[in-house]
Assembly symmetry: C2
């Protein structure tokens, strides 16, 4: 699926259906509005899918893994080989995302979109390597414009595949040592916030490393001079291969009206890229959780959403997104399974005395 | 099970085991602490149950239903018969709590501990009626001291039954038109907050009714003069039958080291009663969600916990508690199922450069 075609095919969500859904919610045996954000979620699900009543099918999380040339600047607490090691951990089912996905009945799909290390043939691994890691953004662009487009189209194709296979609730996750650095760069660029305000401690760096990280991001933005009105160029300049894949996945989800939960800083930076490419995408994204990473919080304020969960997570992999899946499922089930006042023979509210 | 015996048999949670659990969590393939509150939850689960590794068994929510004489003061948006109607809705599986419990695989146990209306024999209903509704607390005590003790002992017995039947994660819910009024009275009493600061809009009253509700609670506290250092007397004076049942349930859960999620305002008021009776109970309670009801938020600040979810709920029934069950389950599964760095062959963090 080509990027241009996808951007053109994304429709606005079905706002009129959401209003119809509210009427049904008001007939269910509960005080009006008493299910709070779950009612909101049910309506958003209806608007996104364009279907009434809403239907639940399969769930999937797609984890995009890639490396970052900027890791050479010493911005992470972990060595670069961890990216490839964690890919193998994902495929063996031992990582946090595997545990959480098993619990909610979601499949985990692991994509090598740019791991630096050569991986042995691994059963289950989706090999879509655009290049073996990005170049160092502190010195020049992460990748070419063409490679950035390739990442987006890989993500779109994976969303299309989810849709084709009956997935009705999706999430995207990331793995890539050093990837909070390009993500914070993208958040600074698209939101206009200061670099220090969107830079966090990643997997656990100390204060001196944080200072270096801020300096590296500042340099990357100066050297590459990305522009927020050229999101493809910005992704190529200061982004990452997995960030591009996730951004494309969000575009594809919007294209196929597939509700998708957005995870932590990396996924949220990808969401900014996707929304910059096509503003209609915003209404298709569901903010799953508030990350400890400050840049993620800045990005959601910019995008105008309050995430569903706030559990102090800073792991990535799609973990926060998958943890929020039961809430979306609850919203849809309440909509479909609760009795109405009439069905249950329950009295409605009395007029004020 | 007698109240006095139960209070005496509640042990402190196993704090030493929680420290041991943290060591295991630090060996799992994730940056230290990156699972945030889920790591906290896993440790609390271990401390509460006193078992390493933690085990997951069955889940249950016990919904206590009762009526309130104070409804005669016009403090609710719904007529009193709704309590009995909703009990029947629970038994037919059409209420929000049924839908959410089905989703997470929890059983729903419905207890008539004091519904005013005579209910027909209903399959599945646990009849433990202490009296057909409380007396009007604006004019005198809700019930006798002996009846309050009976409510607590019913709750204890139901927790004991859950424990015996293999439940390892419990929740308590409420149904009772008018029950935010006694609950706010108890929160004001135990936390020392002003009545207006702990009184909310219940199922959806208007501003004039809210004013009346504040006046009614103020009168109830003046007429009955309950004392926070006499929690049994306070429950009898300005409490409710389902509030007593839930408070007893929490005592029983603590006695049997059964992790229990605390729902909204009514359950949290019951938690205050239970903790006043035996301060060790506090460490056994897991705050599930932040209710729209302001009194609940005041109570959790007093009890020193930040609830897990904040979804704008104001329904009761145990809905918020059951919505948080997957988070507790996730914490335990992550503890048990994630690979360690050594098992997965993943490099640990490098020393700061």
């Amino acid at each position: 699926m080509r990027l241009d075609d996808t951007l053109a095919q994304i429709e606005p969500v079905a706002a009129a259906l959401a209003a119809q859904a509210q009427q049904h919610l008001d007939r269910l045996t509960k005080p009006r509005g008493s299910l709070g954000r779950l009612e909101e979620l049910a309506k958003r699900y209806v608007a996104i899918t364009g279907q009434l009543p809403p239907r639940l099918g399969a769930k999937a999380v797609v984890v995009f893994a890639a490396d970052h040339g900027v890791a050479a600047e010493g911005v992470s607490a972990y060595p670069q080989e961890v990216t490839a090691q964690m890919v193998q951990n994902f495929l063996r089912g031992g990582a946090a995302i595997n545990v959480l996905a098993r619990q909610v009945g979601a499949t985990v799909r692991v994509v090598d979109i740019g791991v630096a290390t050569a991986l042995p043939p691994l059963p289950g691994l989706l090999v879509r390597k655009v290049r073996p890691g990005t170049a160092n953004i502190a010195q020049g662009p992460a990748m070419s414009r063409q490679e950035a487009q390739q990442c987006l189209e890989i993500g779109i194709a994976l969303a299309e595949q989810c849709h084709r296979e009956g997935v009705t609730l999706a999430a995207a996750g990331d793995m890539g040592i050093g990837n909070t650095t390009p993500s914070s760069a993208l958040v600074a660029l698209f939101t206009g916030a200061a670099v220090a305000e969107v830079t966090g401690y990643g997997t656990g760096i100390d204060a001196a490393t944080w200072q270096r990280k801020v300096a590296v991001i500042t340099r990357a933005l100066a050297v590459n001079a990305p522009r927020p009105d050229d999101p493809l160029g910005a992704l190529a300049a200061v982004g990452g291969l997995e960030i591009g894949g996730i951004a494309g996945f969000f575009l594809g989800c919007a294209r196929y009206r597939l509700p998708v939960l957005v995870d932590g800083l990396i996924a949220t930076a990808a969401a900014l890229v996707a929304v910059a490419l096509q503003p209609r995408v915003k209404a298709y994204l569901i903010a799953a959780h508030t990350s400890v990473e400050v840049g993620q919080q800045v990005a959601w304020r910019f995008l105008g959403q309050q995430p569903l969960l706030d559990l102090g997570l800073r792991l990535g992999e799609g973990t926060g997104a998958v943890l929020a899946m039961p809430l979306v499922e609850a919203a849809v089930r309440l909509y479909n399974e609760m009795a109405t006042f009439a069905e249950a023979g329950v009295s409605e509210r009395q007029p004020p005395q």
